[in-house]
């Protein structure tokens, strides 16, 4: 994919950093001494095997869980996030895997759900519709009409609505939990384009994905979690996906890397 250098105009400061974050569930150490830095205008992919602690980490940042140990610095100040609402107020938006859209409401109503624009006490539908279009245009999102129920949208369009909604609170960090899972080829491309739009807006994006192709396509850096611990941070432009897979599985000799190596050898001998 294209190598997108971080634009110089976009701030490259660290927006969010975690230091020594740990989380236990009973006898299970879900996260242990996690260190993570997320910069503005950067897409950081968070990868790891099932049970590596990705979702726990995201939920800890989002305020669903509170960390047992460690500190979180957001925008230069140490913060404690006690609830999802607090995280949103700080400027950390999360798009969870189940998109949490109301199927019976239209796109405008879903975008502004819980923070409707009002004229006195009455909903200002016209202004909400106008700014919905403005937001969707900025994201180059392809939604045919904002006055149709969300139920009639495709998976990619629903994902777009969910991501657009997270942007309304003017966040600095957006976390996307497997945004391309269960999407087709074209829809995946649509969502990945959207992720790039977010980066262009100078947001820090944390992307959780199982799909290495997506990660390599859109991420600037990849943080690998393994069994609840940090297992390396890679810069995508300087890394091969086998190295990342090796870090995920914790082995250099595994089925995936062997197959990849075999193929490289074959291609090398063929040419």
């Amino acid at each position: 994919m294209t190598v997108t250098p971080t634009p110089a105009t976009v701030g490259t400061g660290t927006v969010l950093s975690l230091r020594g974050v740990s989380k236990r569930f009973g006898a299970v150490q879900a996260l242990k001494n996690i260190e993570l830095d997320v910069r503005a205008g950067e897409v950081l992919a968070l990868v790891g095997d099932n049970g590596a602690g990705k979702s726990t980490l995201v939920k800890t940042i989002a305020g669903v869980y509170t960390a047992d140990d460690g500190s979180m610095v957001f925008d230069g100040a140490e913060v404690r996030v006690g609830s999802p609402a607090e995280a949103q107020q700080l400027g950390i938006a999360t798009v969870f895997q189940d998109l949490a859209l109301c199927d019976n409401l239209d796109v405008v109503a879903n975008l502004y759900l819980g923070r409707e624009l009002r004229n006195g006490k009455v909903l200002d539908e016209v202004e909400m519709e106008r700014s919905s279009w403005e937001l969707l245009r900025q994201l180059s999102a392809k939604i045919p009409s904002v006055r149709i129920p969300v139920a009639s949208l495709s998976g990619g369009q629903r994902q777009t609505v969910a991501i657009a909604r997270s942007l309304l609170g003017q966040p600095k960090v957006v976390m996307l939990d497997e945004p391309t899972a269960a999407l087709g080829v074209a829809q995946t491309a649509e969502v990945l384009n959207l992720v790039e739009r977010l980066r262009e807006r100078g947001l820090a994006v944390i992307l959780i994905s199982h799909n290495m192709a997506d990660v390599m396509a859109v991420a600037d850096r990849v943080a690998v979690l393994r069994l609840g611990r940090n297992n390396g941070v890679f810069t995508v432009s300087e890394t091969k996906s086998q190295d990342i897979i090796a870090a995920i599985t914790g082995a250099t000799d595994n089925a995936v890397s062997e197959r990849a190596a075999r193929r490289t050898r074959q291609e090398g001998s063929a040419s």
Binding site: E116, S140, S152
Partner: protein
């Protein structure tokens, strides 16, 4: 940031005339996949395609009402007489007000089975405090209505604190408040409300003068047309598509007809009842609350997807509490109106079929049992259907055995239409 890389490529490659055309289009009509529907004919075709996809709205109940009225008119030519229709409006009011509360609860995807008992209890409390204790009328009315509010808050608290299904809570309420009603009424069992009291006069003898009724129609139509025109102006200013003025004129004219004909017919006898006008005003107010306020939007959202509503920061607990409270309050007000119209309250006030009539009215009117879909007008239309059946069968001197069975049949048809149209909406992506 305002120069998207990928998305803008396609329009740039387009030929110049097309690009200009796109720029002239309103912001919400630029997507090439949208099927263009312009002008009056476009509005009609959009309406028919919505019907075909199963988004029926209030069409089935209007059709049903026309059929029911035609059948009864053929069976007994006095059914559609001014005199009988005035009676019908009086009979409709109490059940309709109760059904209004049911609409709200159904929008949440919950149910209240106790509205009949609560209405009976409110009637009993009104009778006992006003007649036996000699309280001022206004105080009795307020206490009776507040009783409904308290009962609803109690339901809401049980539901939100302990997660007991509303079906079970209100089933207990159905029995419990019936018992309380019998207790309040005591040994006599029947209380007559004085003929000359304000509430009885309001419910039985207060009618609008013809001039006032026509004036009201004119005001309503003018207000409707004005608000549509203002909305049109605001949309145009925001660069959005607008309805053609011809369409607004046609709709206003249709509204004028729909209001004028009944008023004309009712004025042939006693006229438009104040009590019925109160009911219509409550319907309009509820419709406004559902469609135009943040509270209403939250109610519909909770009915559609509770988890999504919670994550959007909506105070879900408050929504449940307020809706249960509103439903029971409407039930209490309905009970007060029933008591006033019948000039008496007894042990069977709010009993019998009151409960199921109110619930059936909401469902027949087109409010979905599955939550998140419905309108305040379904209480008005549904109550008219239910009470037309009851009124028509009474005119034919058929007793309640037939009435129960016919009402049950209509209810079954309504619920079946609801389920079928839901399936069709899902197939057409309009769920």
């Amino acid at each position: 940031m305002s120069t998207p890389v990928d998305g803008s490529k396609a329009p740039v490659q387009d030929t110049v005339p097309e690009a200009q055309e796109a720029a002239a289009l309103p912001a919400d009509l630029q997507d090439e996949r949208l099927i263009a529907s312009n002008g009056v004919s476009g509005a009609i075709s959009a309406f028919t395609s919505r019907l075909r996809s199963g988004d029926l709205g209030s069409v089935p109940v209007v059709v049903g009402l026309v059929i029911i009225w035609a059948v009864f008119q053929i069976a007994n030519s006095s059914f559609l007489s001014s005199r009988n229709l005035v009676n019908l409006t009086l009979q409709t009011t109490s059940v309709g007000v109760i059904a209004l509360g049911i609409v709200l609860v159904l929008l949440l995807g919950e149910i209240d089975l106790s509205v009949g008992s609560v209405s009976g209890l409110a009637g009993a409390v009104l009778g006992v405090t006003f007649v036996n204790k000699g309280w001022p009328l206004l105080l009795s009315l307020v206490v009776s209505a507040l009783l409904g509010l308290v009962i609803g808050l109690f339901y809401g608290a049980l539901y939100t604190r302990f997660g007991v299904p509303s079906f079970v809570i209100t089933l207990a309420g159905l029995l419990g408040f019936l018992g309380l009603q019998l207790l309040v009424l005591g040994k006599e069992g029947t209380l007559n409300i004085p003929f000359d009291s304000g509430i009885v006069k309001f419910a039985t003898q207060s009618f609008l003068s013809p001039a006032l009724a026509y004036g009201l129609v004119a005001v309503v139509v003018a207000a409707y047309a004005l608000s549509r025109l203002r909305n049109r102006g605001a949309r145009a200013a925001a660069g959005l598509s607008t309805a053609p003025t011809a369409m607004i004129a046609i709709k206003a004219a249709a509204l004028a007809l729909v209001l004028l004909i009944p008023v004309l017919v009712l004025n042939g006898d006693r006229g438009v009842s104040s009590m019925f006008l109160l009911f219509v005003a409550l319907v309009l107010a509820t419709d406004f609350m559902i469609r135009r306020t943040r509270w209403g939007r939250s109610v519909v959202a909770v009915g559609g997807n509770v988890e999504a509503a919670r994550r959007a920061g909506i105070n879900v607990r408050f929504i449940y509490l307020s809706v249960f409270a509103a439903c029971s309050t409407f039930a209490a007000v309905g009970g007060i109106l029933a008591t006033a119209r019948l000039i008496a309250v007894n042990q069977s006030t709010g009993g019998g079929d009151t409960n199921l009539n109110a619930i059936a009215a909401a469902v027949i009117g087109g409010t979905s049992l599955f939550g998140g879909r419905g309108s305040a007008y379904s209480a008005l239309l549904g109550a008219l259907v239910i009470m037309s059946i009851s009124n028509g069968l009474a005119l034919l001197s058929l007793d309640s055995s037939v009435r129960y069975m016919v009402t049950a049949g209509v209810l079954l048809v309504a619920v079946t239409i609801d389920s079928l149209s839901r399936r069709s909406r899902q197939a057409h992506g309009r769920a």
